[in-house]
Structure formats: structure tokens, C-alpha cells
């Protein structure tokens, strides 16, 4: 028995020693270069371009390593790495992730480093709305915005021509959009004229906010990061009534419509109009849809209004290479996009001096409507946030499913909007 116990202890000791020696350590040897790990949610093609571009980073003391990750399961991967406290030195993150992780003290605060002006990055060169939204209530920035997401309406120009409707362009109205959707519905295998997932999904009330703000009304919430209230005024209600009518008539796809396959259906001519982001342009550039397509700004009531949303790059608070990580971060924001975006124009950089390569790539590819719409979005007079970034945002999502979406479907009266917003305000109050 003693021999068994002895052998067991010896094995355990050996395993412990092996684990101690073989553990992952991005810090590198004390006398060698440190390794900065980078993780993205991009496609394999874009990751290849990023990897190649990162090879241009020259610093004898820093080695950059791109971590492989399946782009489809990025959220799950991020959650498990966070709980295991093994986040890479730099990882792609959304605005809500940055806000929530920063509030938990999980991320390095770059605000002071940025404000000092010592580095290559200058705060005033970033898109203003992105910078504002990446700051927490106490002015921390757990990451830096990297790319801007702009949104609009993708349309099948051939379908519009066949139906004798003028193509959408900046300044078109919501009524014109719904009228066009009504005419296009049921034609050429298209069940609905417009698939507007952003209007009917859990983020729908924020998107609808564009209607009320454009009409001079109130936004759905005063602040997506630190809301003090949610509001549904007369203009907002008017917008909901028009959408519900369009859904009822069959012009617009209802809540619950599976939007995951919609870009493919759009390419195949089965969806004449869809709400979507500018990032689809990169896929269309590669896949070359058979239809002639265009990208228009969102419709408006009076004032041009759009959504603001940016993604960025964060660094865990426990990184061993803070200085090195910031240097690589600077390199990504100022140099990498110039090399990556011409091959894969996914989004305009949030750092404005780096935007030129994105627009010239799209222009070269003949995607002029995308250029015009993205530029119009970035310059829009009024903007609204896409969703709450708070930790209790999922609870608002449940309220939206239970109360807002049935209104759009015509299963509950529009007057229930006040009850819905009242519940959200109770939630805001209870969360302090």
C-alpha cells in the first residue's frame, strides 16, 4: 500500500512540476522579446490579411501572435477565456462587452495614456460618437474603438426597376420605404418586400428611435451606457404604428423572421430590401451577387438620423505586457487597416486618418453607393445608440420579446407601449 501511495504522490508531483513548467505564458523570457497575443472575430480571409499585416510590426522586444478562433463561436470563446482568466493581450470586443468588462475591473484603462498624447494615437482623431460611447461613467476606456459599424438599407436595384419604383437615396422617407416594400412583396419569389431585422428584433426600439429623433421627437433612451430613462413619445408611437401596419399588410417581415440567411437570399434576388450593415459589402465584393444592388441611408422624417455603433479592441487588466500591447494596438489602429481593408473592406476605421484605404477600396470596386451611404452615416446630424450596453440589457430584451414584439405583430394594442416603457423604467430604477 505504501508503495502505491508513494507512486501516486510521485506522479502528482511530476504532473504539478510539468504544469508549472509548461503553462502558457505570453510574457516570454525575461531576456527575450515579449509576445503580444491578438484574437479577432474576423473571417479566415480577413484574419489572413491581418496576420500578414501584423508581420510589418517591427520591434525587437515584441513578438505578435494572432490567436486562432472560430469566428462563429466568438462569444462563447470570449466567455470561457474570461472566466478562465486567459484572455489574449488584445481581443476584438463590442461596445457592450467593453462597458461591462470595464465596470467589473477586467480591462486596462487606456484613457490616461490616450489623453497624455505621448503615443501615435490622438484622441481627437477618432470618430467622436465612438469615443464618447466607449467611455464609462467615470471616464475609463477599457479598450479603443477600431472599426465603425454603419447601417442602412440594401436594395435590389433590378427589382426596383422592374417594379417601376425609384431607387432609394439619401433623404427618402419612411412612407416611401414602406410603399416600395408593399409593391415588391410577393414578386419574383420574394415573400416580403423588406426584411428589417433591426426594426423587429430585440434592438428594434432603438432602431425605431431614428424615426422619432428624425421627426424632432425623443430618443428611446437618453444614454445607452448610463440610462436614466426610456421614453416613447407621440412621434415614436407614430413610427411603431406605421411599422405594425406594414407588417400586417405583408410588406415587411414580422418579428421572429429568421434573418440569418437573409444576405444570401438578398444575393439570390429573393429579398428585395433589407436593413443591414456596411460589412456586407466585403462579402458581396467576393461573392458577386447576380443582382444589381445598392446601399442607401436609412429613411428620414425631417432630419438625417442614423445608428451609431463601433467595435474595438480591449486588453485584460492582468496582461503582463501593457506597454507592448499598447504599441501593437497603436499599430493596428494606424497601419494594419491600410493593408487589410483594400482586400476585405469590412468597415471604416474609427481612427479617421486610417479611413482613406477603406473608401478607396470600395470606390475601386465600384461600390459607390456604399461609399456615399457610409460617409453620410458618419456625418449624420443625429445619431441614436443601437442597444443598452448595461449588464441588465438582457432583461430589457425579455421585456421587448414579451411586450414590444407582440405590438408589432398586432397581437397587442399600440397603447401598450407605455406599459412596456414603464417596465423598463422600473428596471432602470431598480438597477440604480
Amino acid at each position: 500500500m505504501n508503495r502505491i501511495i508513494g507512486t501516486t504522490l510521485a506522479c502528482a508531483g511530476l504532473l504539478t512540476a510539468t504544469a508549472a513548467c509548461g503553462g502558457s505564458d505570453s510574457g516570454g523570457e525575461s531576456d527575450g522579446p515579449v509576445t503580444v497575443t491578438v484574437m479577432t472575430w474576423e473571417s479566415p480571409e480577413t484574419n489572413t490579411a491581418i496576420k500578414k499585416a501584423l508581420e510589418g510590426f517591427k520591434d525587437d522586444n515584441i513578438k505578435v501572435e494572432l490567436v486562432d478562433t472560430p469566428s462563429g463561436g466568438y462569444g462563447d470563446k470570449l466567455a470561457s477565456l474570461t472566466q478562465a482568466k486567459k484572455l489574449p493581450d488584445l481581443f476584438w470586443c463590442g461596445n457592450d462587452t467593453e462597458q461591462q468588462y470595464t465596470s467589473q475591473g477586467l480591462l486596462v484603462d487606456w484613457s490616461k495614456r490616450l489623453d497624455s498624447g505621448d503615443g501615435e494615437l490622438k484622441a481627437d482623431k477618432f470618430v467622436g460618437s465612438a469615443m464618447e460611447n466607449w467611455k464609462t461613467g467615470d471616464g475609463q476606456m477599457g479598450g479603443l474603438p477600431s472599426l465603425m459599424n454603419t447601417y442602412g438599407v440594401w436594395y435590389n436595384a433590378d427589382a426596383f426597376k422592374a417594379a417601376g419604383i425609384a431607387e432609394p437615396k439619401g433623404g427618402w422617407s419612411w412612407d416611401e420605404m414602406y410603399a416600395a416594400a408593399g409593391k415588391l412583396a410577393g414578386k419574383n419569389g420574394a415573400k416580403y418586400g423588406l426584411v428589417a431585422d433591426q426594426l423587429t428584433s430585440l434592438d428594434g426600439p432603438f432602431t425605431m428611435s431614428m424615426y422619432s429623433v428624425s421627426a424632432g421627437g425623443a430618443p428611446f433612451t437618453d444614454n445607452v451606457n448610463r440610462p436614466t430613462k426610456a421614453e416613447i413619445d407621440g412621434k415614436f408611437t407614430e413610427g411603431v404604428e406605421k411599422l405594425a401596419a406594414a407588417i400586417k399588410s405583408g410588406a415587411v417581415a414580422p418579428p421572429g423572421y429568421d434573418a440569418s440567411n437573409v444576405p444570401a437570399l438578398f444575393s439570390g434576388g429573393k429579398v428585395p430590401m433589407m436593413f443591414g450593415g456596411q460589412w456586407l459589402a466585403a462579402g458581396f465584393q467576393t461573392d458577386k451577387p447576380k443582382i444589381k444592388y445598392g446601399f442607401a441611408p436609412f429613411p428620414q422624417v425631417q432630419t438625417p438620423t442614423t445608428l451609431y455603433d463601433s467595435v474595438g479592441i480591449c486588453t485584460p487588466q492582468y496582461t503582463k505586457n501593457e506597454d507592448a500591447s499598447y504599441k501593437v494596438l497603436e499599430y493596428i489602429n494606424t497601419k494594419v487597416w491600410d493593408a487589410v481593408l483594400p482586400a476585405s473592406p469590412v468597415a471604416p476605421p474609427a481612427y479617421t486618418p486610417a479611413q482613406e484605404s477603406y473608401f478607396s477600396a470600395l470606390t475601386k470596386a465600384g461600390q459607390n453607393t456604399v461609399v456615399d451611404t457610409v460617409k453620410a452615416d458618419l456625418a449624420a446630424e443625429k445619431t441614436v445608440g443601437v442597444r443598452f450596453t448595461t449588464q441588465w440589457a438582457s432583461q430589457v430584451g425579455d421585456l421587448t420579446t414579451a411586450m414590444y414584439q407582440p405590438i408589432l405583430n398586432g397581437k397587442k394594442p399600440v397603447s401598450d407601449l407605455q406599459g412596456y416603457v414603464g417596465k423598463i423604467n422600473e428596471l432602470i430604477k431598480s438597477q440604480g
Partner: protein
């Protein structure tokens, strides 16, 4: 106790040690830990904060998703369990016949169980696509009414049940084993007495396989209460809350994606509700089983 007996006891403990350690580490500890977490506000990153029954209060009185989740789970159980048992038994009875190619039929019926679940479910997602899916295409060709299937609040759960029934071969195999264990002399005696097929089925087959039926009811109900893969892959819980079953809700709260901070304490409270629900269903099924199951262990 002799020296040899003591040695045997030690060897016995040694042999069952892996099972005891496994049970302690993977069942008992998580059970106790999850109950503790159900009483806390815990995100997996910072220390749990004790909040008493607040998570349960939120579940039953505030959360707009909880009752619809329970309804969706109940609907799934009510729809799936009887259908899976009926189809499984019918298939088993068919495969219990003697005819050429019966082995091929049995293999084909069991094949979907062997295939990777995710692959099968993903395939069904394409089949059920309302615009380009195979099912609607075939229905259109036959001039039959089509549906939006997974995207319709009324058809989404039946569609999920349809996909789940694809794996009914597992139920069939167990019923087939039970049918083959029924003594043939009972059937022969019934035939001599002039019993028809219905009488044979209800007076011989059903009573004789009723203990296996009880087992199947418990297994299928438990499996249905824990359904996750199909709604996760096919609908994500929608449209609305129509397919947002409890397991999916637990996953979304506990391991919420898109970089949101998880609510592990709240999800643990949901886990305990599900756990109690499963225990209650099994207890009720077992309690009333004597009304419809046959046992030859009755005292003389």
C-alpha cells in the same frame, strides 16, 4: 474479521473509489454548489453576494421570460412524449415482424440516432426553410398548404418536435427488446382462444411491456424537459418565447454570449426549478404507475 476479509473490504473500497469520487466531484458538489449560487448574485468573475431568495422572486414575479419558458417546456413535453412513445412502439412492432429485409429496416430506423445531432438538426434547418426548404418545395409541388415552420409562433414548437422525432429509433430499439421478451406461448394461447389483433395488443402486448413503457415515459419526459440542442440551433428560442425552453433560458442567463457578463446565480435558481420539476414529474409518474403497469411480483 479475518486478515483476508479486511483485505477484501479495502480492495472493494478501492474498486468503487472512482465511482464515489466521480459522483462527489461531478454530481454531489455541483448540486450543493449550485444551490448555494442560486441564493447569490454571481457573475463568475467576482465573489458571489448572498441575496437570499431574490433570484427566485425575480423568476416568479418579475422575469417576463420565465412563465413562457415553462409553458414552452410543458408544451414540448406534452407534444413530444406521447408521439415519441407511439411512433417508437409502432416502429418496434413493425420491426418485430418476420419479413425479408427486416434488418435493413431496423438499421435505417436507428440510423438517425447514430448521426451527429448537430449535423442532423442543421440539416433540418435547411429542410424547414420557408423559402428555399425541401419541405415547402415538396408541399408546393403537391399543391398542399405550406408554412413558415420555425418562424411561425404556432408552428415553431411542432416543427422542433418533428425534428426530435427523427431520433425515435432509440425508443424503438428498447421497445423492440421488450417485445421480443414477451413469451410466445401467450400469443399462441391467445390465437387458439380466437383473440383478434386488438385484444392481443391490449391484453397481452401492452401489459407485458408496461414496465418498459414506464421506463420509457420517465426517460422521454426527462429528456424532453432537458431539451436544448434543437431550439438552440433551430430557433434560438423564438419567435417570441414560443420555443424558449427552460434549458435554453438557463444557458442564455448562465453562459450568455455576445460578451455579456453572465448571471450564474440567477441561472442556478432556474436550474433548481428545473431539477424540482423533473423530480416531481418522475415521482408522480412512479406513484400512478401501478394503475397501468403489470407486475407478476404480486404476492400469492
Amino acid at each position: 474479521m479475518s486478515r483476508n476479509a479486511g483485505s477484501d473490504v479495502r480492495a472493494g473500497y478501492l474498486f468503487i473509489a472512482p465511482a464515489i469520487i466521480g459522483f462527489t466531484v461531478f454530481v454531489a458538489y455541483p448540486l450543493v454548489r449550485s444551490f448555494y449560487l442560486a441564493l447569490t448574485k454571481y457573475n463568475g468573475l467576482t465573489d458571489p453576494v448572498f441575496v437570499g431568495l431574490a433570484n427566485f422572486r425575480r423568476l416568479f414575479t418579475v422575469d417576463p421570460a420565465f412563465w413562457p419558458s415553462l409553458r414552452a417546456t410543458g408544451y414540448l413535453v406534452v407534444l413530444y412524449v406521447p408521439l415519441s412513445l407511439a411512433i417508437g412502439l409502432a416502429l418496434a412492432m413493425f420491426c418485430n415482424q418476420r419479413f425479408a429485409g427486416v434488418r435493413i429496416v431496423r438499421t435505417l430506423a436507428y440510423l438517425p440516432v447514430v448521426l451527429p445531432a448537430v449535423a442532423t438538426i442543421t440539416l433540418w434547418k435547411f429542410i424547414l426553410d420557408p423559402q428555399v426548404g425541401l419541405l415547402n418545395t415538396v408541399l408546393e409541388k403537391l399543391h398542399l398548404p405550406t408554412s413558415t415552420w420555425l418562424q411561425s409562433p404556432t408552428m415553431s414548437m411542432p416543427s422542433i418536435v418533428l425534428v426530435m422525432l427523427w431520433g425515435v429509433g432509440g425508443t424503438m430499439i428498447i421497445f423492440l427488446a421488450a417485445l421480443q421478451a414477451v413469451p410466445t406461448e401467450l400469443y399462441e394461447a391467445a390465437r387458439v382462444d380466437g383473440a383478434g389483433p386488438y385484444a392481443v395488443f391490449f391484453r397481452i402486448t401492452m401489459p407485458m411491456i408496461s414496465p418498459i413503457m414506464l421506463l420509457q415515459v420517465i426517460l422521454q419526459t426527462t429528456a424532453a424537459l432537458q431539451t436544448f440542442n434543437q431550439p438552440k440551433i433551430l430557433t434560438g428560442g423564438g419567435p417570441g418565447f414560443s420555443t424558449n425552453v427552460l434549458m435554453l433560458s438557463i444557458y442564455n442567463n448562465g453562459f450568455s454570449n455576445l460578451g455579456r457578463i453572465p448571471q450564474l446565480g440567477y441561472a442556478s435558481a432556474q436550474v433548481w426549478v428545473l431539477f424540482i420539476l423533473i423530480i416531481a414529474v418522475i415521482a408522480l409518474t412512479a406513484k400512478f404507475s401501478s394503475l397501468w403497469t403489470y407486475s407478476d411480483n404480486t404476492p400469492d
